[in-house]
Every structure is written in C-alpha cells, then in structure tokens.
C-alpha cells in the first residue's frame, strides 16, 4: 500500500471570525461524575436506523432475548440490539425524539432484571492485527453509528475514504449545556485513545487529531496524560476556541486544516474524516468486551432537574426514567429539549425513549430559555452575516425566501446553511431566521427537482421532434423512449392482471 499523504493540521487553530459566544451552562452537569442510569423496567427500542433505513424486527412478541442480542436488521445493514435481557412485549409505532411528530416502529422489551448478556459476545482478540475490512465488519455488526447525532453507520464511513490524510476525532462539543463528550474524555481518556487507534487502523488514515474546546482544561489534561503513556506519534490534540459552532463538522475541518469541504461534497473529498469521540469510545468498548452499542452517555441537565449530570443509559430507556435518575423534576411545567438549545428539538413529553442520537436532555425551568418575542423589521444591522459560519447573508436570504424567489435563494448559496441558529441568536429584530431557511431549503430543492425535470422534458421533446422529422412516427420505440426496465415490468404486470380480470368477467 502506498504511503498516504499526511495533511498537516493546526494544533492551535485560529480564533474563528464567525460564531457566537453563548452562555455555556456546562458546569451545571460537569460538577457530578458520570453515573449509570438504573435499568428501567421497560425499554422502547426504536427500529429507525437513521440513514440506514428502518430495521425489520427479528424477534416475535413473547420471545426471550438476552442483552446485546440482535433484534432488528435493516436492508442497508442497520442493526438494532436488545439493550437488556427480558421478554419482547410488542412492536408498535411510537413517537421518538427526532423531527417534530416523528413516529417510528419500536420494540417494547420488559426487563427480567437480570441483565443477562448474550453468551456469544466475545472480545476482539488482537484487533489491531485484524485486516481493516474485518474490523469494520465487526463495527458494523455491533450497530455502531455516529453518536454525534447523525447516526451514519461508522463502518461505512470508515470504509468510504480511499486516500485519507487526516482522521479528526471531534470532541469540540460546542453547544451549550451538552457535556457528555467532555465528561467521557475526562473520565475515560484511555477508552477514547484506544478507539482512535482502532479507527486509524480501520480507516487507513496516517494521522489522527482529537479536537477539544478551550474551555475543557480537565479533558485536555486527561487526554494529554493518556497520550504520553500511549506514546503514539500518529495522534495529536488540537484546542479550538470555545465558540459555537466550532464543533460543527465542516467548521471544525476549516479551523483545523484551513480547507473547506466543497459544496455538495463530503469531508473525504479533501482527505478528512470526522468521527465523534463517543463513537471512538464505542469502538474501543466493542474491542475490549465484544459488546454491541446498547447504551450511550446522555447529559441530563437544565434548571428544571434536581441533580443535573451525565448518565450512562441503555438505548430505549424512557426519558422519564432518565430524569428520575438525575434527581427528578424540581420545577413546575418544565420544557424538555432533546439536544442542545441551539439545534435541539422541543419534545412533546417524557415518555419518549433514548435513541443512539440522544446526547442531551435539557429540562428547562420556566424562563430559562428564550420565550416568544415580538418581531421587528430587519434593520440590516449585519450581525447575522457577521456570525454566520457559512459566510451567508441571512437578511438577504430571508427576503428572497419570503418573496419565494428561488433563483435568488440559489444565487445566495442557501445550500451552505447548516441551520446552526447563530443568526437567530444575535438578531436584534427577533426574526425566526433558521426556521425560515429550513422552509426555504425545502422550496429550493423542490424547484431544483422541477428544473431537472424540465431539462429532461426538453431533451425528450427534442428527440421526439427529430423522430417526427425522420420517420414521421408519433409513437416512440421503447429504445427511443429510454424507459427503464422497471417501468416496463410494472406496466406488463398490470396489463396482465387486467387482461385476466377481463377474461374472468367475460
């Protein structure tokens, strides 16, 4: 194998010109160590595997399962494991945290209280001696996905890059309130480093850098100590300014390498690969114990919960059990937010389950978050474009979006918007910019689809005109019509069905 080029990174990245300093509120939950959330009586395990589609249940109601047993598999290889031992009660459609109103099929398991692990789970002996493809296979089988929230299958991501120059391990948890990655690095730095080494092996990257924020000195120290012990020259640490959204994938890559991921492209296009620290730790955990991903760290925080802290919770644990493990509610009519306050989602209630994407649950006391405020006209103060990490002009995008001017939206490069909410945060006119851009993006993609259909239609009508000139035939042959075999097969199927129907009727 040829020596892969090494992308230099900046151990002290420059202070970003974009972004906002949001009150971090992280010490709320970092004053207490990580604790294990008690095993709940029932878990509700979502079969939704995010980008890998919806899994099909492999178990029947009434069946006994062991902790770590495979209970769901999607067509694209998404895997769902039992997060405790017990009995499968039923499969039902249940709201899950995600987009508002999202409903996904879930498996309901009742715990037998024993937490009996599946006997076939064995640690990976000598994982670094394993061929990378086999290691990735083990990672895929363990159901490990990006724990930063994207849920993209980790094994696929590790395999995707041909010429990788730098593996970035993202510990720059920039959203306020969330502290699960920070606490992981503080308390389990060895696990993180083991994971990084495994990921280096599995991806073929020559170097790795762990990005942490400047306001996490304890995590920096813990990782540095561990690095000294490990003495692996391929791994380094970079400290980025604690400014939201410095930990966004594309923004972090820009800060560390000075390169930008091209529009519509992926980090691998510029030789980078980004994984979350929690994902790295999950890989290390798999190698050490053979256990699949059935739990994750969740920050339970906010002024509406008695003892804010980080909890190690089984996937499918009801949020109510999580809040109870953090001392219970301590205010009237709290509001629940899944994720951070900048990009999170308001939840309808606490009966929803923890998913692999659940990094933080904010229990907000009344008045802790910003309430609805009257909107003033935009005064073009320009603060929004000053803080925009994508260098967009939000105020012009807003005008174009409100006017439904799709051409202008495309020209203003709306596709670069990462919906981070910085523009909303600073807007003195209190305009809901991010919400407007989410809607405008939908409109733009609709218009782009219509555009590509129009191109197709023009090509086909020109082909038809040419045919009329040459053969004077209004009916195209199937080759000329460029039909897909699927279309034809479907039509044939229906024709046959109807002929038969007619025959029956006669």
């Amino acid at each position: 194998m040829a020596e892969a080029p090494v992308l230099p990174y900046r151990p002290q990245p420059p202070r970003p010109r974009w972004g906002v300093r949001v009150p971090p509120n992280k010490t709320l939950s970092t004053v207490r160590p990580i604790a294990a959330c008690p095993l709940p009586d029932e878990v509700l395990i979502p079969l939704d595997c995010g980008p890998a589609g919806i899994a099909t249940a492999l178990v029947q109601p009434g069946q006994r399962v062991a902790t770590g047993e495979l209970i769901g598999l999607s067509e694209d290889g998404g895997r769902v494991h039992a997060s405790l031992s017990g009995i499968v009660l039923d499969e039902e459609e249940h709201p899950v945290p995600g987009r508002p109103g999202a409903i996904a099929p879930c498996l309901r398991l009742r715990s037998d209280g024993e937490d009996r692990w599946h006997p076939m789970l064995r640690p990976i002996a000598e994982p670094l001696a394993l061929p990378p493809a086999q290691l990735r296979e083990r990672i895929a089988e363990a159901g490990i996905v990006g724990l930063g929230g994207a849920l993209f299958p980790t094994a696929d991501k590790l395999a995707a890059a041909e010429e990788l120059e730098l593996l970035i391990i993202n510990g720059a948890e920039c959203e306020p309130y969330i502290s699960c990655d920070e606490m992981l690095m503080r308390e389990r730095p060895g696990l993180v480093l083991d994971g990084v080494r495994l990921m280096l092996h599995a991806s073929g990257a020559p170097r790795a850098v762990i990005a942490v924020e400047s306001d996490m000195p304890e995590a920096q120290r813990a990782l540095l100590d561990e690095l000294q012990r490990a003495a692996d020259p391929r791994i380094g640490i970079a400290v980025v300014t604690a400014k939201y959204p410095a930990g966004g994938e594309r923004q972090l890559i820009e800060l560390l390498t000075g390169r930008e991921v091209p529009a519509g492209g992926l980090p691998t296009d510029i030789g980078c690969l980004c994984h979350n620290v929690a994902t790295a730790a999950a890989v290390a955990d798999l190698a050490a114990s053979g256990r699949p991903l059935i739990s994750r760290l969740v920050t339970v925080t906010g002024r509406g919960v008695a003892e804010p802290r980080n909890l190690e919770a089984r996937i499918g644990t009801p949020l109510a059990a999580l809040v109870a493990a953090a001392g219970g509610y301590c205010c009237d009519s709290p509001r629940l937010i899944m994720g951070g306050p900048m990009m999170g989602r308001l939840l309808p209630g606490d009966e929803l389950p923890v998913t692999k994407a659940s990094n933080c649950l904010i229990v907000a006391a009344p008045g802790e978050l910003t309430g609805p405020r009257p909107e003033y006209p935009c005064i073009r103060c320009g603060e929004c474009s000053r803080v925009c990490p994508a260098r967009l002009l939000p105020q012009e995008l807003l005008l174009a979006g409100r006017a439904g001017n799709v051409l202008a939206l495309a020209e203003l490069q709306l596709d670069a918007c990462i919906e981070c909410g910085c523009c909303d945060y600073v807007c003195p006119s209190h305009i809901d910019l991010t919400a407007a851009f989410v809607q405008a993006k939908r409109r733009l993609s609709q218009a782009l689809r219509a555009r590509s259909r129009a191109h197709q239609a023009r090509a086909r009508s020109e082909a038809r005109a040419a045919r009329l000139r040459n053969r004077n035939s209004a009916v195209a042959s199937y080759q000329e019509a460029e039909l897909t075999t699927d279309d034809l097969a479907a039509l044939l199927e229906r024709v046959k069905a109807r002929e038969q129907e007619r025959g029956d009727a006669d």
């Binding site: 439904g404 001017n405 799709v406 051409l407 689809r449 219509a450 259909r453 129009a454 191109h455 197709q456 239609a457 023009r458 086909r460 009508s461 082909a463 038809r464 209004a474 009916v475 195209a476 199937y478 000329e480 019509a481 039909l483 279309d487 034809l488 039509l491 229906r494 024709v495 109807r498 002929e499």
Partner: protein, 167 residues
Amino acid sequence: MLPAILLIAGLSGGIGLLLLAAAARLPTDRDGLAQRIDELLPQTQCAQCGYPGCRPYADAIAAGEAPINRCAPGGELLIRALAELLGRQPLPLDPACGEYHGERVAVIDEARCIGCRRCIEACPVDAIIGAHRHLHTVLQSLCTGCELCLPPCPVDCIDMQARPADG
C-alpha cells in the same frame, strides 16, 4: 449660457447617434437570450401560450414579439424571473392562456382505458407507454402535466392530479 446649451446639445446628439449606430450595426444576441429564456420556462411543451412549444415561445419573447405573461404552468414565479432577466415589468398571468395549477401530472384511469394509442401520439415528451389495444400508463417521473393528452382521449379516462411531493 450659449456654450452650455451647445455643449449639452452636442453631447446628447452625439451619444444618440452612437447608440443608433450601435443598434443598427452590432448583432443582437437573440439566440443566446432565447436560450436563457428557454432555460427558465418549465418545458411542459403544453402550447398553452399559443406557440407550439417552450422554445418557440422563448424565441418570440427574445424577438420582442410575445409578452412574458403567457406561460400558465410557470405561474407568477416564472413571470417574475423573466421580468428580472429582461428588465421588464412583471405582469399578471394572461387569463387567456389558462390558469396556474402548480405542478400536476396526468393519470390514466386504467379501468377505462381502451388502448387507442391516441394519447401516446399526443404526448410531447414520450411519457405515455403501452401497446395498441392494451392498457396505457403515464410515467409520472416524465410527465410534464401539459394536458395535451386530454382532448384526444375518446373515453375521457385521463385526469390531472397534483404531483406527489416526493416526485
């Protein structure tokens, strides 16, 4: 006073002559313009504008022979885009050219189709398939919603429906 009058008169006269000469001599980029207009048109090839297709209408607009408000499928958004491209005032859609319905597709009621092939012959983008005397169907991904297949159908088995959101 007199020099000023002479100067202004001379300047404006000279510039006017230059402009006249430029208009007469320099070739206007009608084809390029027509192409850019065609790029904006929805390519339904529906002929509701009174021209046989999108490109002929684009040529007519570029030549200054047609107003910009005759494309019903493009709707108000298209008129605004054309107005911006051409530096003209946006006009309301000409009601003589039909109404704006949003994106639609033709759907054949397969129970009633007799397989006469007339719709296939009428379709400007070859989006209808089926053999003579057998069931026909509209390929939704290719249909432009031009409605040209409606009049020839002898059994009125074709309906227009809103295009599904994910289509």
